[in-house]
């Protein structure tokens, strides 16, 4: 009996000690049901506290560069005087791309660190996990780094706004283009077996409308698969002459090369995430990527046509000075730069009234905001009932050296 007490003694003591040592300032709860944390939360006179969760470890750690760039960006903003005199205190935490970890970290940011908003939480699963919580707590889930459609629902979730161009919208453009230009096409689709891939597939089907039967073959792959060779073989074997390639960079390069090696030359649409000249098309082989089509909304840092572009020069200077360890061929670093600028714009628009309500109001009040890294003709526009930042995209075709835009600027409706 006493040995059991010593077991309890040891374990519970250690547990209690560990816990008490971890809680910094013990906050007492006055009543069991406190109101939402965020309501009325405002920045202090000296600082604006911003929280973020990002996969710095684990299988999605390649996206960690986004948080690192943004931390460097906000440091620069602070050095240059901050936002109307207030410094940005940017707290970014690792969630290892695991939804339960994301929930833990976001709760810590909201309830312990008392952040004003959560900026660019990355990944559809993590965002889904914190979606309801942040809306109940009335803390902005601002510019979520995910293109899923559920972040554009101001009626039911007024505190959530996505940043990425919507995946379904992009795929709809492909679908409509196919119907317009190749109405008798036989379509094969390769997509990642997760929320990201399935969202695209849905958009494609929507874009095809009642021509959904044009899809003759579908194949999925897991992020943990070593290659997609088998899938490409299956898709080729289906006799398709149009290939919609919804893959992340590594698999996109493999798919492009493998299709070429198998002498399969379909009309190929490549999703925007993997359209980088330097990080995808060059490893695959530039000659193998001729004729590929994609939609884009921001400039590819490895595309030679932007070598002397003012906006990209500004970005490269920033990278060299503030974030030298970042890769100049990673499009994610341009994306991160755009998102950081958008946040600063929203905060500046808030003026003196930097509260969570006003932040969401001003986020829904971006008019013709065009950071220099966006493609010409593309601007950011939001409204109180329209939380989609990017509603314009341009189709582009790869000519062996660079992406050449063609057609007019497409909007979400057409």
């Amino acid at each position: 009996m006493f040995r059991r007490s010593s077991f309890w003694a040891r374990s519970l003591t250690i547990a209690a000690m560990g816990i008490v040592s971890c809680s910094r300032s013990g906050k007492s709860k006055d009543d069991g049901t406190a109101g939402p944390v965020g309501s009325g939360a405002s920045a202090s006179a000296a600082e604006i506290r911003i929280g973020q969760t990002m996969p710095y470890s684990g299988p999605a750690s390649s996206y960690g560069t986004i948080g690192k760039l943004q931390a460097a960006f906000f440091k620069k903003v602070n050095r240059e005087g901050g936002i109307q005199g207030r410094k940005i205190n940017f707290i970014t935490l690792d969630d290892a791309y695991s939804p339960p970890k994301a929930v833990e970290q976001v709760r810590r940011l909201v309830e312990e660190d008392r952040v004003l908003l959560i900026f660019q939480p990355l990944g559809t699963p993590s965002n889904t996990a914190i979606h309801k919580y942040l809306n109940t707590q009335k803390v902005p889930q601002l510019f979520a780094a995910s293109g899923a459609s559920q972040w554009n629902d101001p009626k039911n979730f007024p505190w959530t706004m996505g940043f990425n161009a919507n995946y379904q919208m992009e795929a709809r453009i492909y679908g409509k283009h196919i119907v317009k230009t190749r109405p008798e096409a036989k379509i094969a689709v390769l997509y990642q077996n997760d929320d990201y891939g399935k969202d695209y597939l849905k958009g494609l089907r929507d874009g095809l409308g009642d021509k959904g039967k044009l899809i003759v073959a579908e194949a999925t792959y897991e992020v943990s698969d070593p290659t997609v060779d088998s899938q490409i073989a299956t898709l080729k074997g289906s006799g398709a002459d149009t290939f919609v390639n919804i893959t992340t960079p590594k698999f996109a390069a493999q798919a492009i090369r493998r299709a070429f090696d198998m002498t399969w030359a379909p009309a190929q649409y490549l999703n925007n995430v993997s359209a980088s000249v330097g990080s995808v098309l060059t490893p695959a082989g530039l000659d193998k990527a001729v004729g590929l089509m994609t939609v884009a909304y921001y400039k590819d840092p490895t595309d030679p046509q932007w070598n002397d572009d003012a906006g990209m020069k500004e970005w490269r200077e920033f990278m060299a000075k503030e974030y030298p360890e970042g890769s100049l061929s990673d499009g994610a670093n341009v994306y991160a730069y755009l998102a950081a600028q958008s946040l600063v714009k929203v905060l500046q628009q808030c003026g003196r009234d930097v509260t969570s309500e006003n932040v969401m109001k001003e986020a829904g009040n971006l008019k013709d905001f065009a950071p220099a890294q966006l493609l010409p003709g593309i601007t950011i526009n939001t409204g109180p009932h329209d939380y989609l930042l990017f509603e314009q995209m341009r189709l582009a075709r790869f000519d062996g050296k660079t992406w050449v835009a063609f057609g007019e600027v497409l909007t979400a409706s057409n």
Binding site: S62, E222, D229, S230, Q231, A233, K250, D261, T263
Partner: protein, 290 residues
Amino acid sequence: METLLRQVLSGLATGAIYASLALALVMIYQTTHLVNFAQGELATCSAYVASSLIAAGLPYWIAFAATIVLSFAAGVAIERLAIRPVTGGPILSVVIVFIGLMLILNSLTGWIFGYTIRPFPSPFPEKPLFGNTYIGTHELGVIAVTSVVLLLLYGFIRYTSLGLALRAVAASSESSRLVGIRTEWMLGLGWGLAAAIGAVAGIMIAPILFLDPHMMSGVLLYAFAAALVGGIDSPGGAVLGGLLVGVVENVVGAYLIGTELKLTVALMLIIGVLLIRPAGLFGKVVVARV
């Protein structure tokens, strides 16, 4: 029919990839009776080292040889520094050390080299043999190189006294010491050889999969399965296991169940094989006598 041929051939090509890493796993198993989870990451590191050497201007084969030597040294160093402190303790502690190494190496390569994928040069000609479109020259090269490594490994373990000493140490280190074998050196040798084999695997695989820090994460599971299906103490079994796993996986995904459950079904089949032959297809069945 054409597609079936394609699936089988690409299955053999992917299987060769699994087989090459599986050989490194077999080497470690011959030395320590444990499966090394960090083997994939070691191979990736070696591939990055080779890539850096080539980018610095060294010709391909010099870089290849240099990487193998460096990897051998790294393997010995890891055995001395990381594994030595836990030998003699519970087996699971060593497994945790492997896991720790895997995490460290993965994060380190990401930090040093970044996460954008890199192309890796291939020593084999770009043009497919006889103009065929089914299997590339490099893939055939991987099969060839893996077979050569297999023969060398098999010959070493079976027909040299060093190989015999290695096996003796793994079987019983006390008895080996009594016979005069330097056990510490043998352990170091085993690790060095495994790292070298892994380096070859990494250099051969990188042109196909593209070099990035997560290159081997997916391959490791299949290599593990391949090694066990073939029999963890049989190098030939590991290679055959690899080829089998590659082909089965492709055929299952293309014809049986679709790509959405390909991984699951392939693994279940492998487990099924193990249930019928618990020591793998070509492994030695150990009989315990009371």
